[in-house]
């Protein structure tokens, strides 16, 4: 690289200057430092693309998905096979012993003195234990897995708990309002990831806590302006997407723009086809 060799040249120049007496030491700002800046400035000036960063905020599934028919059949079969191959557990042995003891008690020749000392087991039979456990289980009310009313509400983050949802925002692009992943224009002095974080904050008014997954973008969408609008300096925009995972689903303050939480299958209804093609690649709905 040229920029590296310049300081080296200067150092050897300086050494020779020190060696020869009576030479004036003059300070040189190494021109090596100046050239990269100008080159990037030249690059940015010549690059006709405006940079934007967008955030793909995903709310991961909260509950397990329902089993497909083959999965259910296989689950039942595996449970049956494992039961057949297993040994009797302590609880089952106890159940068997208690049943035996009951049958002996009901028989005519029963001598309680001959019984071995199982005091606790006679007071509290294994069956009674099972009944108490059953009672306690029934007294616990879990939250319902599926709520039909919430599933239909596209703006709620609690909809479709078994799937992962993506955040969409309605933003002004050029002349029209489009549904897209929240984006913001890149400004000097910040990295693209910071732009993406700014995009998220501006759209949701700092309500969501998101963990951004790394500094690298996960996808890019290039948009060329229609020929009429193209100029020397702006041919189009490049939107870089960054992935983030929603940590806390407390909404906090109301959002500025209209927001939607959609599954991957529903994305097609809201996004433009070319945009959808690019976005589809990195949103995994596994």
């Amino acid at each position: 690289m040229v920029s590296r060799s310049f300081p080296q040249l200067l150092t050897c120049f300086n050494r020779t200057a020190v060696g020869s007496a009576g030479c004036r030491r003059f300070s040189i700002t190494p021109p090596g430092r100046a050239t990269p800046q100008s080159s990037t400035a030249v690059e940015r000036v010549t690059s006709p693309w405006t940079l934007m960063a967008a955030v793909c905020l995903q709310r991961l599934p909260v509950i397990t998905a329902d089993c497909s028919p083959i999965e259910q059949r296989f689950k039942q079969m595996m449970q049956q096979m494992e039961l057949e191959k297993s040994l009797l557990s302590d609880h089952e042995l106890r159940l068997m012993e208690d049943a035996e003891r009951m049958s002996r008690k009901q028989g005519n020749e029963y001598d309680s003195d001959e019984e071995e000392g199982h005091g606790d087991q006679e007071i509290m039979l294994a069956q009674d234990l099972e009944d108490t456990w059953e009672q306690r289980f029934k007294s616990f009310q879990p939250a319902p897995r599926v709520r039909a009313d919430l599933d239909k509400d596209l703006t709620s983050v609690q909809r479709c708990l078994a799937d992962s949802l993506v955040l969409l925002a309605e933003q002004q692009v050029g002349a029209e309002k489009l549904w897209l992943l929240p984006q913001a224009a890149w400004q000097e002095g910040e990295t693209l990831r910071q732009t993406a974080e700014r995009a998220l904050c501006s759209v949701t008014a700092a309500g969501f806590k998101a963990t951004f997954l790394g500094n690298a973008p996960c996808g890019v969408y290039k948009y060329k302006l229609p020929k009429a609008a193209r100029t020397e300096s702006s041919v189009g925009t490049k939107v870089f997407f960054f992935k983030a995972i929603l940590a806390d689903s407390a909404p906090g303050t109301a959002p500025n723009t209209a927001l939607l939480w959609v599954k991957k299958s529903e994305l097609q209804k809201y996004l433009k086809p070319a945009y959808m093609m690019k976005v589809d690649r990195f949103i995994l709905s596994l």
Partner: protein
């Protein structure tokens, strides 16, 4: 031993009596003069005192050698390597080898065993399709990222370098996985009692 006894008795007598020296002479052993031998003390002589036999010069050296040998033997015994901590999972507990615990294996009909075999094959095909789909999806996502980084490189070197840097704050990353039912808001789980009987080994 007898020396000690005689010394004790002497001591006792000395403490008890406070002799005026002028009046009583030889009867008080507190008076220390060579002419008056204390009568009250026990007459002890060498054999009575049972002194240990006097040793030759060779013996201390022999004793030292013996002691050194004993110490070496002790050190060798102490150099035993530390006992290995047993892995509890690899030791089959004797409860499992109990004969009374065996179940009666059920007799499966031909149809049942056939259906099981067919279901297993169907399952392996289903899982294979699932795995291929996952691998493909991951490859597509990686390709998308590679394209994005190439475009960024064309744009600006600094942003590209910034994108390549690893994020130190990302790890350790934790996320609560899906459960069967969603969490109940403002739910206080009851405390459970348990006795922890795990064996702790120290080396």
């Amino acid at each position: 031993m007898s020396l000690v006894v005689s010394r004790c008795i002497c001591g006792l007598l000395c403490r008890q009596a406070v002799p005026p020296r002028l009046l009583l002479g030889e009867y008080f052993p507190g008076v220390q003069s060579p002419w008056f031998s204390p009568v009250v003390t026990l007459k002890t002589s060498a054999p009575l005192r049972a002194e240990p036999k006097k040793k030759n010069k060779v013996d201390p050296r022999r004793e030292q050698m013996m002691k050194e040998r004993l110490k070496k033997k002790l050190k060798k015994l102490e150099r035993v390597p530390p006992e290995l901590i047993p892995i509890e999972d690899f030791i089959t507990p004797t409860k499992c080898l109990d004969e009374t615990r065996k179940r009666i294996p059920p007799r499966l009909s031909f149809e049942e065993s056939e259906s099981r075999a067919l279901l297993l094959k169907e399952w392996s095909r289903y899982k294979q399709k699932q795995q291929m789909a996952e691998v493909e999806a991951i490859e597509v996502a990686l390709e998308a990222q590679r394209e994005a980084l190439e475009e960024l490189k064309l744009e600006s070197k600094e942003l590209y370098q910034a994108a390549l840097k690893p994020d130190p704050l990302l790890f350790p990353f934790t996320h609560e996985g899906p459960a069967y039912t969603p969490p109940i808001p403002n739910y206080e789980a009851p405390d459970g009692k348990y006795n922890d009987v795990t064996k702790v080994y120290t080396q």
